[in-house]
């Protein structure tokens, strides 16, 4: 959402994580539905053997975090799922569309410490705003390969070529492959 249509409602950030099995999403959604909460925005995925859910949920009336916590605690007893809930202020609910170009940065190479840190520090120092990020350890135990894919909004005026240039030194230093591609959506 580009605007704050839901301003004034109760909003929470809910994080659920636990050993993967069929039914985690359904169980979570059931708790929220029963309470009359709306799932405004969410991203859920498998990470290793875990299933992780991150949701922004709203409720049309004043609603306490404790109430939500208690319901999740009751539902998740004995399931190994953990739930973390944070109350959001109105200004945390609004989605602010990035202003600059959107690009995809792919980084891969032999696994070593510091790949995520060095890449993201370099980007952060130039005000490049990461909007999505995934990492995965692949390859064999003898030759582990690290893959990092991220999407980032460049600050106004920065081009994809500039971002590529920015990461050139790290390519040598970390001995990894780095490429930056433009993925700014086309408006049709």
């Amino acid at each position: 959402m580009n605007d704050c249509r839901k301003a004034g409602l109760a909003h929470f950030a809910v994080t659920i994580i636990g050993k993967d099995r069929p039914g985690i999403v359904a169980d979570t959604a059931q708790v929220l539905y029963t309470l009359g909460c709306n799932v405004e925005d969410s991203s859920c995925t498998m990470l290793g053997g875990e299933f992780a859910m991150i949701l922004i949920v709203s409720h049309g009336k004043p609603f306490s975090k404790k109430h939500l916590e208690a319901e999740f605690a009751a539902k998740n007893t004995g399931t190994g799922l953990s739930a973390f809930i944070r109350t959001l202020k109105d200004d945390e609910v609004c989605y602010r569309e990035p202003v600059g170009e959107l690009c995809l940065v792919s980084v891969y190479g032999s696994d070593k410490p510091g790949i995520v840190y060095r890449i993201t520090r370099e980007l952060a120092d130039r005000q490049v705003n990461i909007t999505d990020l995934n990492t995965k350890l692949i390859g064999s135990p003898d030759e582990p390969v690290y893959v990092l894919m991220l999407e980032a909004a460049l600050p106004h005026g920065m081009r994809v070529e500039d971002a590529t240039e920015l990461l050139q030194n790290l390519k040598k230093e970390l001995s990894v492959e780095i490429s930056v591609r433009l993925i700014t959506p086309v408006s049709l």
Binding site: N2, T45, N134, K136, M149, P185, V186, L188
Partner: protein, 168 residues
């Protein structure tokens, strides 16, 4: 000049298969003009289909000549009635957005070379070969004529890249 409102989903007309146009008459010429005006009024818009302005007929306009992806390779302003794709080849993924589905984008794979037949504003049937972004834009607009939105074409979640690898 008649800029029309762009209808947004869930307006039911956007999911309708549009009817072929019998002949290019004054009414159709007006429709094409409205489509062009509406396209030019939309910031960065490169095409509009009739159903997006509430007319369930097979007509759409495309013009990628002012877009950075299309300015080097285009046929200018295309006014198309009853367009059909005769041949399609190649494939590329672009992240698409649509004025009828605000605030959402998704990666869609489309052919990068198409041979197209359509009736122009002069009533004559034309064939042309479009490539690159122009081909993508034409396919996006033509999807509207079949009641398809880019949401029907998204091939993977953003994270799909990683999902084929299983743990051993």
């Amino acid at each position: 000049m008649a800029v029309q409102n762009i209808l947004t989903y869930p307006h039911p007309i956007l999911k309708k298969v549009c009817r072929p146009v019998d002949q290019v008459d004054a009414e159709i010429l007006q429709l094409l003009e409205d489509l062009v005006d509406t396209m030019l009024a939309g910031p960065g818009s490169v095409g509009v289909a009739a159903s997006q302005i509430g007319v369930a007929l097979r007509a759409c306009v495309v013009d990628v000549s002012n877009n950075r992806h299309g300015k080097e390779n285009n046929h200018g302003r295309l006014l198309m009635v009853n367009p059909e794709i005769l041949e399609a080849s190649g494939g590329a993924v672009m992240r698409e957005g649509c004025m009828s589905v605000p605030d959402y984008t998704g990666d869609v794979e489309r052919a990068t070379e198409i041979t197209l037949r359509f009736t122009g504003a002069d009533g004559a049937v034309r064939e042309l070969r479009a490539t690159g972004f122009e081909a993508v834009a034409i396919q996006h607009e033509m999807d509207h004529l079949d009641g398809l939105l880019f949401l029907d074409r998204i091939t993977s979640l953003k994270t799909g890249l990683f999902r084929r690898k299983s743990y051993k």
